[in-house]
Symmetry: C2
Subunit: 429 residues, 2 copies
């Protein structure tokens, strides 16, 4: 049996998962990879820190050079997160002819093109299955199993924290703040939840999915982003009345040769498979022109699930005998696609208004919609309190630019106190 040495950069949540998987599934990993794999170095900030796992003496190091300059180490597993110093370490490893595996969505979304180019030039592999949706093998699914298809659409629940919060709000009638607090207590949400709640995390993942599926390099700034902090219990309740549930969706969609790229809270029909993806689970729906609708569902984060993706990537590299060419965004590259401006998107829209309790309000609002080519699918008027009436409108398919124009005009009406919320509705047919 050939021996092979690998190194981990970082020993946090995912790093520990990788370590445990090598301990617990040693026999399977050896049989399936064809190699006796040993983790001989792990880069950490503090060697003396108590970690609750038993690492042999000499494995932990604070010196990246002990890894980069060691010719026996053939694969470097980057689990530091963030762009710096992760990117520099990865580039150095690649230049030293080491294969690289990472679970770092940020560095792949922002610097993936450069890193993959470097890997190609140096004849090594860069795999990153763990960077999107944890243990769900969505990237390999796209790269290896959907190759017969033109991919037309990707719709994903790719952030476990926000899905946990929305599930609690929806199924247990919790308020946003309470649900967020619970997610933090359970370790699903960070102390600073901005990256999850405001959907930056989901944007990185959508950028990676889009690059692979549509063969283009995506600038994350081209992705429309809206988080879930504006979703109130009231919206969840009204969504139910219309037969919808609210999910934070990452969407990449062909639209007449252009691409829509957007991440926002979305109302979807309660009977749709994505509507039943609850708690911290992730799911990704892909539409291919041959395969039709395909959904992958599983744990999108966590020590062992993400570790599963990382270790499977290591095994894939070894199975490929380290000679297989790097399959990347660039090799899949299609004719460069125009990314559609948010104003040009078409969708249904749910709007919630606070208006004065007086006759003629509905007429004023309706005439503005009509003028801007927006037609109304349903209107619900809720009991007034102290002269304020809640008006809920769901439109038919409309252009986002027309919606925004209408909203700006409606905002200025004397009879309208406030536009409380706007949420997109997708039928997902």
């Amino acid at each position: 049996m050939n021996k092979i040495e690998i190194a981990l950069l970082g020993l946090g949540n995912v790093g520990k998962g990788v370590w445990h998987i090598f301990q617990n599934n040693k026999e399977e990993i050896t049989r399936r990879s064809g190699y006796d794999i040993e983790i001989t170095k792990i880069l950490v900030n503090d060697i003396s820190k108590e970690r609750g796992i038993d690492i042999p003496v000499g494995v932990l190091t604070t010196d990246i050079e002990e890894i980069l300059s060691n010719d026996n180490i053939k694969i470097v597993v980057e689990l530091l997160g963030g762009v710096h110093p992760a990117k520099d370490y990865m580039l150095s490893a690649i230049e030293n002819s080491k294969h690289v595996v990472t679970a770092n969505k940020q560095v792949i979304a922002l610097e993936g093109t450069e890193l993959l180019d470097a890997a190609r030039k140096n004849g090594v592999l860069l795999y990153y299955e763990g960077s999107v949706a944890g243990g769900i093998p969505i990237l390999k699914g796209i790269e290896e199993s959907l190759t017969a298809n033109k991919i037309q659409e990707i719709v994903g629940i790719v952030n476990g924290t926000t899905n946990y919060i929305l599930t609690k709000m929806s199924l247990e009638n919790m308020d946003f703040d309470v649900a967020l607090k619970q997610a933090q207590d359970k370790g699903f949400a960070e102390a600073d939840p901005t990256s999850d709640v405001e959907a930056y995390d989901a944007v990185y993942k959508l950028a990676i999915l889009t690059s692979l599926s549509f063969g283009i390099n995506v600038d994350v700034k081209d992705i429309y982003r809206e988080g879930i902090s504006n979703i109130s219990s009231l919206d969840i309740k009204y969504a139910k009345e219309f037969g919808y549930t609210i999910k934070l969706l990452a969407i990449a969609k062909e639209n007449n040769g252009s691409l829509e790229l957007r991440v926002h809270p979305t109302m979807i029909p309660i009977a749709h498979p994505l509507a039943n993806v609850n708690d911290s689970f992730n799911a990704i729906l892909i539409k291919g022109n041959a395969v039709g609708d395909l959904m992958f569902y599983g744990q999108g984060a966590g020590s062992l699930p993400t570790g599963s993706a990382v270790v499977s990537d290591i095994i894939s590299i070894l199975r490929n005998d380290m000679t297989l060419r790097s399959i990347s965004t660039v090799e899949n590259k299609a004719a460069s696609k125009l990314i559609l401006n948010q104003q040009a998107y078409k969708s249904q829209y749910y709007l919630r208004f606070s208006v004065k309790d007086m006759s003629g309000v509905l007429g004023e609002i309706s005439s503005i919609w009509g003028k801007n080519n927006v037609s109304i699918s349903s209107i619900i008027q809720k009991d007034e309190k102290q002269g304020i009436v809640t008006l809920i409108i769901v439109t038919h398919d409309a252009i986002e630019g027309d919606i925004n124009k209408s909203v700006a005009e409606i905002e200025h009406l004397d009879s309208v106190y406030n536009i409380d919320n706007l949420i997109r509705v997708e039928k997902l047919n």
Copy 2:
């Protein structure tokens, strides 16, 4: 661009799908495979038959030797179905150093070991993604992406026909016969529906999934099989009262070092993701010791979805430069596992009885359960008609042998007219 010739054996539903995918997605397939692929021969029974597609002159042939003896043909795609003559043709192709792709579950489930051995000896690849769950990339998922895991359990809805029938019975209150007729009219069910309805089809698929996941060669005779023809509207209705829905599940499960292998109608909680897999869709849930629960969902049959799997297999072979070793059941082989006898399975059970309307019946039945170590979770007694009372019992977890013993004793009670049905209940935790 290197050109490569391939041949199809058979031009039925899936064969036409493969043809159409090569027409429609030519550019993607060329880019992703690195080859200009041409289908130069197609084996058919009757060249003059009207097929509604435009095949160039000289491509159709009734002579298998035109394919097997043609050294320019590098990949043979077997789409005949059944064991004979498919197996012989595949073996000959392999011996003539051709790679083989198939969507034929029967030949892989029954003759896969011999075929894969032959492929290995001849240094060619045999891929069969299309043989299980159509377009869903479940086999590659197991072989390539879950390699870091000990797989503990597979639970699948792998037959679209029966799932369509059960969905219609459940959501539209159709009777079995009506739903079957509708499935036949829509082309989901064969004129002779035995293979689907009596679960032979699902057994083949479970055998293939088990071989890959647990690394053993499965004899289909070792798989417990029960179809859906005994499921009545009444059972569907009572299942709902208990919060369950009925699905035909294919189950492979670790049980203390042994394996449970079984296909039968099963009650599962309505909130479980598998319970919401409707119509002819398929879904497969896999539990790995690192990744946790993972589900793949999609179209399990049909011309284009199965064609998608077949064409992706062809591309994988070409990407592997035809030199990658064949990854197969045998290479994944674990210590041979004992397959558990059906009598040793543990499950909850739903039983429906017709009993006499007299006092003491429940006591008699209960004492038999008690004597055989079966405890009762719930009992519902339904209105009597003409002296007959319907009694529905759901047990706690019990050994199937104990259930069978109890049922045999209960059947002989004077107060019991009939045991109308027995359906297993899985909580799928």
